[in-house]
Amino acid sequence: MTASAPLHLKVNGVPLERSVPPNRILLDLLREDLNLTGTKRGCDLGTCGCCTVLLDGVPTLSCLTLARLAEGAEVTTIEGLGEHGELTALQRAFVEHGATQCGFCTPGFLLAATALLRDHPTPSRQEIQEALSGNLCRCTGYVKILEAVEAACRTGLPAPSP
C-alpha cells in the first residue's frame, strides 16, 4: 500500500510507534520526523557514510534503508552513544586527538568505529582503515581519526552498545 502503516522500532533504547509511508527513507524518518539531526545527509546515495546508524548493532546506511523495513529493529544514532551525558571512550578520543574538524562526517565515523571496537577490540591499523572505508572525510585526511580509534582501544572500550 502506498498508504502509511504503523512502524514499531526502538530508537536509542526508546520504543516508538509511528505511522510511516512506504517510500519513507530511514534517514528522513530520523532527521525530519524524530528530529534526530545528528545523522547527516551528505549524498543520499550511499557514497559518503555521513548517514550511518547502527541497525541492530550493524553500521548501516540510513539513506539506503526503507524505514518500514526497520520494523522491530533497534536503531542507534549518534545521539544514543554514551550514557548520562558521558562521552564514550571513542568520543573522548575523537575530541582529544583532533579527529573532528568540521564534524559533518563525525557521527558516521563514530558509529562505524563503535561497531568495529565492539566486535574487534584491538584492530590493526589496516583493519581500522577497512572498517571505516565507507565513510568519507574531506577535512582530516583520516589520519587523526585512525589515531583516535587506536587511542580508544588503548584507553578502554566504548560503552557497551546495543
Binding site: 539531526t37 568520543q91 574538524q101 568540521c102 564534524g103 574531506r138 582530516t140 589520519v143
Partner: protein, 796 residues
C-alpha cells in the same frame, strides 16, 4: 577605544611573556572547543534547523549548456496545491558576485542559461514531493546557442559571447600581462632553460555538507538568513544588493559548516533565491542542494593549462621565469580576476627570481563556474614550476634539494614584483624534509618503480586587499564582553568552517587574560552582533582575526590590571595574569581572582567591553595588479614524498610524505597537523583521481561515486615537521596553515613518480590508465629507466 594592529608599527605588549616561553595555551595541542558538540551529534548545521511554518525550496536545473530563454511557463506549477511561490530570474535580476567589479551571477538565470544545471526557476512548497511535482510542471523554452567547452576557443573571437562583459569579441573574462626585469634578454643569456607544459583537470571542494540555506522574512521587515557560508558578510551585501533591502535589515547567521575549502566563499545563487522565496512567501524557506547541484554550482579549482619556462645561469641560479596560463573560468567570474593574477604571481616565492613575465587568461566557457579552492591560484602553477625546477636540476646534473636551497629568497626582502617578504622558513623546511626523509640515500637510488621527490610551496597568509572596503576599514574586528558572571563572550564575524577559528579565538583570549578556555564562549557568526570580518578565505583568519582578538584581549587586560592594581595597591604594569588570577610577578600570593578584578572594574560602569581590530600595513607596488598576492606574511613549505608505482598497472601508491611547514609559531600544533594531513589528502586526490570529468560541456561525474575522493587506505604516512620561526607580525608569531600545506604535495609526488619511472607527468590527474600508457611508451622507446644520480646528492 578600539586599537588597530598594523604590522611592525605595533610594539610587543609590555605584559607579553618573553617570546617562546611562558605561554600556557599558545603552542599546546588543544582539542576544538566545539568538539564535544560534534562527537555527540549536537552541533547544528543549517539543514538541522527548523522554523515554524517552514517551507521547502527547490530549484530547476537547466537542461541546456548555452541557450537563450525564450519563455518560462510557471502557471501549471503555481496552480499546484501546496505550492507557495514559483520564481523565475526576472523577479530579482540584479547581478551579484563576490568581487565588486565582476558582478555577473544572478539568483536564477535571466536572459539565458550558461551551463548545464544552472538554476532557472525556484519553487517553495509544503514538502519535497510537491516541489518536485511543481518543477516538472515548469516549461522552459530554450533557443540553443553555440556551446563553448574549451577555453582555447573562448579566448579567440567567438560568434556568441557568453557574457557581454567579456573582452573584445572573445569570451575572455580577464587577461593579465606583467613583466618585471627583462625576461627575453635573460633567456637569451641563459646557460640553461627548461620548459614545462602543464594540464590540470578542474576539481571540486568535495566538502561533506552540501550547501544549505534557510531564509525567513519576518513581519517587522527584517530578513534572516542562515547559511552554510564561509563569508557571511559578503552574503549579506549580495542579499542587500539583489533584494534591495538596506544592509541593516538583513541578518546573516552562520551555523556549523560542514567544510568549505573555498567552495562556500562566494555569495551563491541558491542563497539569494532562497531569500527571495522567503520574501515572496513571507514564510521561512529551507533549500538544501543535492550532491549533483553541488557539482554544478561548483566554484572549484579551474581546469588549467599553463606553460612555464625557467632560465638559469651556469651556477644554477635562476635568472628568469616566464609563465603563461589559460584558465577555464566556466560560466561566471567568481574570484576569477584574483585567480588569474594568482596563477602567475604566486610563483614568485620561495625562489629568488630577478625577472618575471606573465600572461594569464581566464576565459568563460559553458562549464559550471570555477572559483576559489583551497590554495586558490597557487596549486597548478606550483606544480608546473616545481616540475620545471626538477627538470632544470636534471639538465644541470644538480641535486634538486641543493638547487632549491641555492635559489631561496632570504627573510626580510622583496620580490621582483614587490611582495614584502618578512619571516621565511623555506630553508629550514627544505633541510628538515631532506634530513628526515634520508634524501641522500634514497634519491635516484631506490629500485626502478620506486621514487622520492621534493617540492617547495609558498602561500599568502591573508590577502592584503579587503575586497569591498574603500576607504579602508579593518579587515577583522573582534569584540569582547564580560559581565558579572565573569564569562568572556567573544564576538567575531570570522567563519569557523571546521578549521578551528573558534578554538583559536578562545585560545588567544584566554592566553592573554590568563584564564581557562572554558571561561570564554565564542559567538560566531551572527551579523546582528558580530563585528564585520571578511570571512574565511585566502588563509586570512589566523593572522587577521588572531591579531584582532589579541588586541581586544589586551585592551580588556589593561582594564582588569587597573582594577586588580586598585584592589592590591600594586602598580598595574607589574601584574601577571595566570591561572585565573591576577598577581604580582613572582609572588602569586599577592593577587586577586579574575572574577574579583572583573567585579571591581565593573563598578559604576557595568559590563566590560573591548574591541580589537586588524588592518594590514600598506604594501605592494603601484603598477596595475600590484596588490594581487600581497599579504602581511607568507607561509613556506617543503615536502618530500615517496612513491611506489605498479609497473604493470600504472597504480601510484604514495607511501610517505615528510611535510615541513613554516606557519610561524604553530598556535595549536594539533590543529596545524590536521590542516596538513587534510591538505595532503585533498592534494593527492587532485593528483591521483579527482577531476571534473567533462565531455563537451557535460559533467559526466556529478556524484561522490564517480568523483573520486581518496579512501582511508590511500592515505600515505604523514610526518609533519613544523619548523618555522616566529613571524614578527602574526599573533604570537603565527602564520597561516590552512591552504599552503596543500601546494607542495602535488609536485613532490610528481617528482617522486619521475624519480621512480623517469617520466615527468604534466597532465593531472595521474589516473592509472594514463600512467600505464606512458609506461608503455617509455618501454617502447627504451626510456623506461631511472634518471641519472647527480654526484652532488651524495656529497650534499
Amino acid at each position: 577605544m578600539a586599537k588597530s594592529a598594523s604590522g611592525p608599527a605595533v610594539p610587543p605588549h609590555p605584559l607579553a611573556p618573553a617570546s617562546g616561553k611562558g605561554y600556557r595555551l599558545i603552542g599546546r595541542r588543544l582539542p576544538l572547543v566545539d568538539a564535544a558538540l560534534k562527537v555527540t551529534g549536537r552541533a547544528e548545521y543549517t539543514d538541522d534547523l527548523k522554523r515554524p511554518g517552514l517551507l521547502v525550496g527547490r530549484l530547476l536545473k537547466s537542461t541546456q549548456a548555452h541557450a537563450r530563454i525564450a519563455g518560462v511557463d510557471v502557471s501549471a506549477a503555481r496552480a499546484l496545491p501546496g505550492v507557495a511561490a514559483v520564481l523565475t530570474g526576472r523577479r530579482f535580476p540584479t547581478p551579484f558576485g563576490v568581487l565588486p567589479m565582476t558582478h555577473d551571477e544572478t539568483a536564477l538565470a535571466v536572459e539565458k542559461v550558461r551551463h548545464y544545471g544552472e538554476w532557472v526557476a525556484a519553487v517553495a512548497a509544503v514538502d519535497e514531493e510537491t516541489c518536485e511535482k511543481a518543477l516538472r510542471r515548469i516549461e522552459v523554452r530554450y533557443e540553443p546557442l553555440p556551446v563553448y567547452d574549451d577555453p582555447g576557443v573562448s579566448e579567440r573571437p567567438v560568434t556568441e559571447k557568453i557574457h557581454a562583459r567579456a573582452l573584445r569579441d572573445t569570451n575572455i573574462q580577464k587577461e593579465v600581462f606583467q613583466h618585471f626585469g627583462d625576461v627575453p634578454r635573460a633567456f637569451q643569456e641563459a646557460f640553461a632553460e627548461v620548459k614545462v607544459q602543464g594540464r590540470f583537470a578542474g576539481v571540486n571542494h568535495g566538502f561533506t555538507e552540501p550547501h544549505c540555506v534557510l531564509a525567513e522574512a519576518s513581519p517587522d521587515g527584517r530578513l534572516t538568513v542562515w547559511s552554510a557560508t564561509q563569508v557571511p558578510h559578503y552574503l549579506l551585501r549580495a542579499l542587500s544588493e539583489v533584494l534591495g533591502l538596506p544592509l541593516h535589515r538583513i541578518r546573516v547567521i552562520k551555523p556549523e559548516v560542514g567544510g568549505g575549502f573555498g567552495g562556500k566563499s562566494d555569495p551563491f545563487p541558491h542563497e539569494i533565491a532562497c531569500a527571495a522565496l522567503a520574501v515572496e512567501t513571507g514564510r521561512p524557506v529551507k533549500l538544501l542542494l543535492d550532491r549533483e547541484d553541488v557539482f554544478y554550482v561548483n566554484h572549484g579549482r579551474h581546469p588549467t593549462r599553463n606553460l612555464v619556462r625557467l632560465a638559469a645561469d651556469e651556477k644554477g641560479t635562476f635568472t628568469a621565469l616566464d609563465v603563461e596560463a589559460l584558465l577555464d573560468g566556466g560560466a561566471f567570474s567568481s574570484f576569477g580576476v584574483v585567480t588569474t593574477y594568482y596563477n602567475g604571481v604566486l610563483a614568485l616565492g620561495p625562489y629568488r627570481l630577478p625577472s618575471f613575465r606573465y600572461h594569464g587568461v581566464r576565459a568563460y566557457t559553458n562549464h559550471p563556474p570555477s572559483g576559489a579552492m583551497r590554495a586558490h591560484g597557487g596549486t597548478n602553477i606550483r606544480y608546473s614550476l616545481e616540475m620545471a625546477v626538477d627538470a632544470l636540476a636534471e639538465r644541470l646534473g644538480r641535486d634538486p634539494v641543493a638547487l632549491r636551497l641555492q635559489n631561496l629568497l632570504p627573510a626580510d626582502t622583496q620580490t621582483v614584483n614587490e611582495f614584502r617578504i618578512t619571516s621565511n622558513g623555506a630553508e629550514a623546511c627544505l633541510l628538515a624534509a631532506r634530513d628526515r626523509s634520508r634524501w641522500r640515500e634514497r634519491f635516484r637510488q631506490l629500485p626502478y618503480g620506486e621514487g622520492i621527490g621534493v617540492a617547495c610551496g609558498f602561500y599568502i597568509s591573508g590577502s592584503n586587499s579587503p575586497i569591498h572596503f574603500t576607504p579602508r576599514f579593518p579587515q577583522s574586528t573582534v569584540h569582547l564582553k564580560v559581565d558579572v558572571d565573569g564569562g568572556v563572550t567573544i564576538h567575531s564575524g570570522a567563519a569557523d568552517i571546521g578549521q578551528g577559528s573558534k578554538t583559536l579565538l578562545a585560545q588567544v583570549v584566554a592566553e592573554v587574560l590568563g584564564i581557562r578556555m572554558d571561561r570564554t564562549r565564542v559567538a560566531a557568526v551572527d551579523s546582528d552582533t558580530a563585528p564585520v570580518d571578511l570571512g574565511s578565505y585566502s588563509s586570512r583568519v589566523t593572522f587577521m582575526m588572531g591579531n584582532a582578538a589579541k588586541r581586544a584581549a589586551e585592551e580588556l587586560r589593561e582594564a582588569l590590571a587597573q582594577a586588580a592594581g586598585d584592589i592590591l595597591g600594586e602598580p598595574p604594569a607589574g601584574l601577571v595574569f595566570e591561572d585565573e588570577r591576577i598577581h604580582r610577578d613572582g609572588s602569586p600570593e599577592v593577587g586577586v581572582d579574575f572574577l574579583a578584578a572583573v567585579h571591581r572594574a565593573m563598578e559604576h560602569r557595568g559590563a566590560l567591553v573591548a574591541s580589537g581590530s586588524y588592518e594590514s600595513p600598506p604594501m605592494g607596488g603601484t603598477f596595475k595588479g600590484a596588490k594581487a598576492g600581497t599579504a602581511p606574511a607568507y607561509s613556506f613549505s617543503a615536502y618530500v614524498s615517496q612513491v611506489k608505482v605498479d609497473l604493470e598497472t600504472g597504480f601510484v601508491d604514495v607511501k610517505k610524505v615528510w611535510a615541513a611547514f613554516d606557519c610561524g609559531r604553530p598556535l595549536n600544533p594539533l590543529a596545524v597537523e590536521g590542516q596538513i594531513e587534510g591538505s595532503i589528502h585533498m592534494g593527492l586526490g587532485q593528483l591521483l583521481s579527482e577531476s571534473m570529468d567533462y565531455r563537451g560541456a557535460r559533467l559526466m561525474n556529478p556524484s561522490l561515486l564517480d568523483y573520486k575522493i581518496l579512501a582511508p587506505q590511500q592515505m600515505p604516512e604523514v610526518e609533519c615537521l613544523l619548523v618555522g620561526g616566529e613571524d614578527p607580525e602574526g599573533p604570537f608569531g603565527a602564520k597561516e596553515a590552512g591552504e599552503g600545506p596543500l601546494i607542495p604535495v602535488l609536485p613532490s609526488v610528481g617528482a617522486a613518480v619521475h624519480d621512480a619511472l623517469g617520466i615527468r607527468f604534466l597532465d593531472l590527474p595521474l589516473t592509472p590508465d594514463k600512467v600505464f600508457r606512458a609506461l608503455e611508451r617509455a618501454r617502447r622507446e627504451g626510456t623506461a629507466r631511472k634518471p641519472p644520480l647527480p654526484g652532488e646528492t651524495r656529497e650534499g
